[in-house]
Symmetry: C2
Subunit: 460 residues, 2 copies
Amino acid sequence: MTSHPPLDPGASALLTDLYQLTMLKSYYERGMHDTAVFEFFVRKLPGARNFFVAAGLEQVLEFLENLRFTDEELDWLAGRPGFERGFVEQLAQLRFTGDVDALPEGTLYFPHEPILRVAAPIAQAQLVETRIVALLQLGTLIASKAARCVLAAPGKLLVDFGLRRAHGAEAGLLAARAAYLAGFDGTATVLAGKRYGIPLYGTMAHSFIQAHESETGAFLDFARGHPDNTVLLVDTYDTEAGAEKVARIAPQLAREGIRVKAVRLDSGDLAEHARKVRAILDRAGCKDIGIFASGGLDEYELAKLAAAPIGGFGVGTALTTSSDAPGLDCAYKLEEYAGIPRRKRSEGKATWPGRKQVFRVLGADGRLEHDILALHDERQPGTALLQPAMRSGGRLAPALELGAIRAYARAQLAQLPEHLKSLEHAEPAYRVEVTPALRALADEVDRRQRALIESDVPAG
Amino acid sequence: MTSHPPLDPGASALLTDLYQLTMLKSYYERGMHDTAVFEFFVRKLPGARNFFVAAGLEQVLEFLENLRFTDEELDWLAGRPGFERGFVEQLAQLRFTGDVDALPEGTLYFPHEPILRVAAPIAQAQLVETRIVALLQLGTLIASKAARCVLAAPGKLLVDFGLRRAHGAEAGLLAARAAYLAGFDGTATVLAGKRYGIPLYGTMAHSFIQAHESETGAFLDFARGHPDNTVLLVDTYDTEAGAEKVARIAPQLAREGIRVKAVRLDSGDLAEHARKVRAILDRAGCKDIGIFASGGLDEYELAKLAAAPIGGFGVGTALTTSSDAPGLDCAYKLEEYAGIPRRKRSEGKATWPGRKQVFRVLGADGRLEHDILALHDERQPGTALLQPAMRSGGRLAPALELGAIRAYARAQLAQLPEHLKSLEHAEPAYRVEVTPALRALADEVDRRQRALIESDVPAG
């Protein structure tokens, strides 16, 4: 039995890779305290995806604001080989005092576009890499998956049912948030409702029906206990037989003042069952009882069910695990140190050097026309997407309401070119131009680095 | 700025689906307090997987031991529609007082075999469903993926590098634990080292090299700062040129008492680079400098690299997202209530009713021969896999040392039939027999339920 509830592991400065700490030790020892500029970007669109939706910035800012090592963590570190007390004492002082520029959550983005830039003393900017990558990857994965579901099921109620298949507590909560942000209507995850104010949905499981000797009895018990939230699960034994029972008890419940809102289907051929169930309900005069469906749904299944008489869907595993793409080829890369642009040249992993900005140009129809990847201080047409979010470790504005982010994301999706709304890989891909000045900088960095590498012949 | 560190969301009783609470309300109102028996199992092996490794039980037991609603959570609930104060007051008393039987962590298992059984008053057994499914799914996914990596790279050092791609804080920590349990040698995740005592690995990122004007200078700085942990990343600009520099500085470092343990490759054709780097190091007399590789690895890549002169691997995204199968078709199903066996009949989702046990029969070679899925009180040949873990809400034994679980898992993998060690889908699948008594019970439950359903004609 623990006497105190355990602390959120996401809040620990030790939720990082060991190499961050070994590098910090060297930076401190060598007096390397200059400003490092890191940018986070995704290298490519996975599978059939045609765009990304940014999410996770709010969690990054919270993490940076609260970054510090606790005494207990420092004591543990000081007992480990390679981490002397002097180094640990420097860690005790570490706070995040840097600047952050980022795409607002809900913004559409594309490969190689930085969505977050950190400029801070190198030790700070380095230490936070692991957590920043994790939060921005997860946010992007789920928000983008949710957006695909929204595009596949226009006008339908969409609810996140995926907590049980999410990879742990934080994944479930952040998935609920990212899905709602990207256009879902709510979640089944109670704690996400409490933390983020997301509308909650949920009624009963098969076990509820099974625990009653009679299915009708279970329906009546539930309806009378939840007169304002009566959705009845009808597929425990036989979907159509279940629907017949609902049709038969609906008038009785109506006399008691209870309206059955919907039945839920959770197995079999959902389109076929929905048509049969609709007919059963309509014949019985229950035209106002809706049909809600769940069970193994993803954006492709939603698209197939577009014509079925189903008003809403619960989406689980595919959403919260981002099943088609559970990870992204993404990176948080050093682009500048001590005022000098840098460029990694590893095969297949080269980056654009320097502080950058993304400009977005809209067409006459108000849709995305193309983006421009530029140096941060270039003047370019269009709107600059990276916005100041934090200066000297302090937020520039309080956290946005999630509802406001959701409205913005909806407007963003409305700006998506029609062919990129496809669930299949779309050609041509969205155009991201690289400015001549950025290309020139990349060449210059290459030349300088090559010269340094060639002259870098150590004493034997 | 938060004045108190945030609490672990995984410890909250509200980390559950709303329908658990709506069902609880009905159970309380109807006075349904009888014992419910739920079992967790996986329906099928995903993709090319041939077995599962059980993991996550320890987290389930911790969760059940500490289950309670806080006053703050109850106040929030009481303000929501449908949750009257009387119900909320009953929730305040809720503790887990039930029994748990489970497969020890590290045990191999197969589809339809229950790996955990909960027997408790129905409200308790129901409420914990969401969290139990999440923890056992995640544990199984990662431990099984890690075991495949171990089978693909016998004798090689394997390190979890995947925190940044894991789906959040808990996923990263539990992935580190599950991977170590299944045979990995360590993790880069510092907090996993602290929490679980897992050996930590890690040295430097490309940014460390880039932040120095000279690659050689970066190597020397790092080696002198970490004389006992000198692994040098050589692919930032040009892998072979990087290795040449290491070869040139190694003698100098040796004179300072510093041994370079290894170089790390992180991009390009790892087998090809490893051969070239090995030759460079050998020519320079640095035969004792090892080669460690990372970058986009999974079990298939590890198998391809078996012959390359690489002594160890960092495995990231594929491991911690369980990339080939980020979710499982698994369930926690009601099999008995108030002493009566139950069976869900939903299409494609039927379950075996009643309390069950899994017996494992070994062949003459000591390998797994077949399993028997039986009623819990049947006598069968072989070893009963489900073991008592908790009685009346209390653990029967303290948590096992992770090292002991790891040794057990290693012994389990050694018992795996040779053809099931394949990374490809293996035929024949492992045989799980269902006893005649269990089949007879299923038939009997079907007959009883059919009779009840047919007589279940509600008043109009």
